[in-house]
Amino acid sequence: MTQLWDFSGGVHPSENKQQSTSRPIRQAGMPEHLVLPLQQHIGEPAEVMVQVGERVLKGQKIADVTTGMGVPVHASTSGVIEAIELRPVPHPSGMSDWCVVLKPDGEDQWCHLEPISDYHKLDRETVLTLIREAGIAGMGGAGFPTDIKLRPPRDRKVETLILNGAECEPYITADDMTMRKHATEVVNGLKVMAWILRPSRCVVGIEDNKPEAIAAMREAVQGTQIEIAVIPTKYPSGGEKQLVQILTGLEVPSGGIPADIGVMCQNVGTAMAVSRAIFEGKPLISRIVTVTGKAVREPGNFEILVGTPVSYLLESGGLQEDQLNRLVLGGPMMGYTLTTDAIPLVKTSNCIIAATADELPAPPPEQPCIRCSQCAEACPMELLPQQLFWYSKASEFEKAEHLNLFDCIECGACSYVCPSSIPLVQYYRYAKDEIRKQRAEQLKSDHARERFEARQARLEREQQEKELRRKERAKAAAEAQAQKQAEAEQSVAEGEATDERAAKAALVQQALERKKAKAAQAAEPAPAAVEQPDIETLEKQLMQAETKLSTMQGMLDEARAQQADNVEKLERAVAKNHDRVERAREALAEARGQMANNTSDASSE
């Protein structure tokens, strides 16, 4: 008997699973068009490799991710590429994205397949590549590329490999039916993954409300070391974090992944896809989807080709359109409503609920929170939903974050039990979005500030360098001046020399030196010539700077009086202007001094 742990909280919603388990899995058949979104998983969108009008074979790669994380997309049947265009895709926002539209030719002709019977002979890297090339991404929900997940960081050895067959959400029975019908394939896929990861323990977690699936899986694991753990039915036991806790007693650290504690979860559908990819060489082009809800006459599970429109599947289930009130993709706890049935089913779609108005009625109007704590009792993450609600509603995001808002898995247990019918999860999503937005803005403004400061520093440095150069020039000029004077004095002194030859030589020397100095002066921009007209400009600059300073000062005084929040900024501006005035003044004084020198030079020569 496998030891089990309990997770705190949880709820017991009506299961509503028997509606879709009474019929065997049916083949949905071939819709008129298949719409294959280029992004069906977390990571980068795939790049199209085919052209409009091209004929493709079933299983042929039609798009791949060349840079970054992602997996390829394959043609779900043989046919002609009709368009590559923006189409509505499965997303809570109802957005459109790039899709390849495939018109089936009815022949369903496979491309060349390379099944592998003995994968043990290959190296693990090759098998991982095969999994990637088969376009497999986690089929339980988020759709994380499976090959990447199967490569945990080097220092994170996976000790426990968990196959998630809990399927705790009401209505959904896709995994249940998959295990009943394809237990061997599921176990084979699991074995491949176990071979890659070499865990010391491999366990399948199944909720006790699926006796047929449990029996089928027990039979399929006969003779292996794989454990079948029958866990109590409680939502959300199939949540990754909760299942890890139930089966290992360990908690996934906040912000971390199960691999951090040596655990990995894989989904039942993913295991089947891995099995098909290895043993049949078939890429992921079909999956099992539950169609249920009171608005369909024949609820059940269908094997669909990826890209099948929701509308086609609903028809197969016998949709009564006049009854349809709400269309949910996913389960009733975490799924999202669709605005249209003209969207394709993708690798991660597991359930479509066509609900009538009395089946999933509109919630009654929201009442005030009375802090009854039913939500806290239900929360599987041991949060305080009532406090998170209070802070989210009041936009006190700091406090909400402090109470671990970001650990919320949005399972909906709190909203499910709320006596005041408050859409709590919606408030948390809002708060999370706002915080993310604020962070992004903070980052942006930080960058802007850094840029500004860098520019400011550069300008200042340039100014200083300019100043330095100018000072050096002035110094050089002054030195030249001093030398000239010294020479003049020397010449007077030397004039008294008796030795005529020596005097002559000295005169020649003097002349040479004068000439040299003159040449040096000419090489430098002649100070007198350039700087004389500059005085006017400098005066003007000084005046301008002074007026600006006084206006700034005025503004600052006003801001101070009003205690405005830009006081600091203004103070800085005033200080800067003050410096500017000082500099202008200095420059002017220097220029004036130089001009005086120059004029005296001119007169002395």
């Binding site: 996913g330 009733p332 650990d407 019918s421």
Partner: protein
């Protein structure tokens, strides 16, 4: 095809607030029956009168505040406030004392703070404490003695006229100090054995009161079983009284004995129906334990060394003050975290 757009979860199975409150009312009925059996019509009349007033004043203030009246009246919370006051006021309290208690509870303590869910203090206990401080005589001399003492309680009409006309003369014969009051004042000059001779104590613990308390205990257990309240507050409350009594008051010649603390006065009503008001109580399990224990300790302190024979209202209100503080320091440890994040977020963020 106009499809409904809704944020998840789509399934809901909540007991609406109105039904939660209705269960609270139903769970209090055994206690009310016991009160009526042992102390006459007084509590029943008070309950009806207080609920009617509570609903009327709630409607009036909702209208003034421009809020939808029937939407809020239907949540049954005003009725619960009226009920709790009716159950805790003295049986023969004059109508205007009840009226002042109810109106201050609904209008001031609840609606002026923002209505349902926004009141920091337990509304019923605000009303009760206000009445007790403002009208100490009316609130201490109008307690009925157990009917078994006299072979029957005053009739319905007699009780009604007493409550609504204000004539106290006819009813004086039926009133008696409460057991806690009696013990507290007599024990200073008598031994325990002498004090317990008084008919108010009866053969068991406190004539009539013990059954009333047990009935409220039963109703409270029903609420826990229905998961309307959790065990934390009542258990911590009662445990604190037990611990305090054993630690400080084991000498019956000086202090009221433990069984009197538990089964006389408003202990069980307070522990299961009053202290558990979720709006004004602490949030987390740990917080509830601290909150409940705090009330228990204060009840014992005030009963034993304070000026009042009973102290549920004051203790609850004092702990209401402490709730935001308790909440800051008792969040649960979230899944995947090493420890709980106590305190308030630091200004620097993070």
């Amino acid at each position: 095809m106009a499809l409904v757009q809704q944020s998840s979860p789509h399934a809901r199975n909540a007991r609406p607030t109105s039904r939660v409150m209705l269960w609270v009312i139903l769970a209090a009925i055994p206690g009310l029956i016991a009160q009526t059996l042992f102390f006459g019509w007084g509590n029943l009349i008070n309950v009806v009168w207080c609920i009617a007033l509570a609903l009327a004043s709630e409607a009036a203030i909702l209208k003034l505040r421009g809020k939808p009246i029937s939407f809020f009246l239907k949540d049954n919370t005003a009725a619960v406030t009226g009920l709790l006051l009716g159950l805790s006021l003295p049986q023969f309290a004059p109508w205007w004392v009840s009226a002042i208690a109810v109106i201050s509870a609904i209008v001031v303590a609840k609606q002026l703070y923002g209505g349902l869910g926004s009141n920091p203090f337990n509304p019923a206990m605000v009303g009760y404490a206000l009445a007790l401080i403002s009208f100490p005589v009316a609130m201490t001399t109008n307690w009925a003695g157990a009917a078994t003492l006299w072979g029957g309680a005053p009739g319905l009409v007699e009780t009604l006229t007493t409550i609504f006309s204000g004539s106290q003369t006819t009813i004086d014969a039926w009133t008696m100090a409460t057991p806690l009051d009696e013990y507290k004042h007599k024990i200073a000059t008598h031994t325990a054995a002498e004090v317990l001779q008084h008919p108010t104590f009866g053969d068991l613990v406190a004539r009539g009161w013990e059954w009333v308390n047990l009935a409220f205990l039963a109703g409270g257990l029903l609420l826990i079983w229905l998961r309307i309240i959790t065990w934390h507050i009542p258990v911590a409350f009662l445990a604190a009284i037990v611990v305090m009594s054993l630690a400080f008051g084991s000498n019956a010649d000086l202090y009221a004995p433990l069984q009197l603390h538990l089964l006389a006065g408003g202990t069980m009503l307070g522990a299961f129906f009053i202290a558990t008001d979720p709006v004004s109580a602490a949030t987390s399990h740990q917080g509830k334990l601290i909150y409940g224990a705090g009330i228990g300790v204060l009840v014992y302190l005030i009963r034993t060394w304070g000026n009042y024979p009973d102290a549920i209202a004051f203790s609850v209100l004092l702990m209401n003050f402490a709730v935001p503080f308790i909440d800051h320091y008792t969040p649960p440890r979230t899944y995947g975290h090493h420890k709980a994040r106590r305190g308030v977020p630091s200004k620097s963020g993070g």
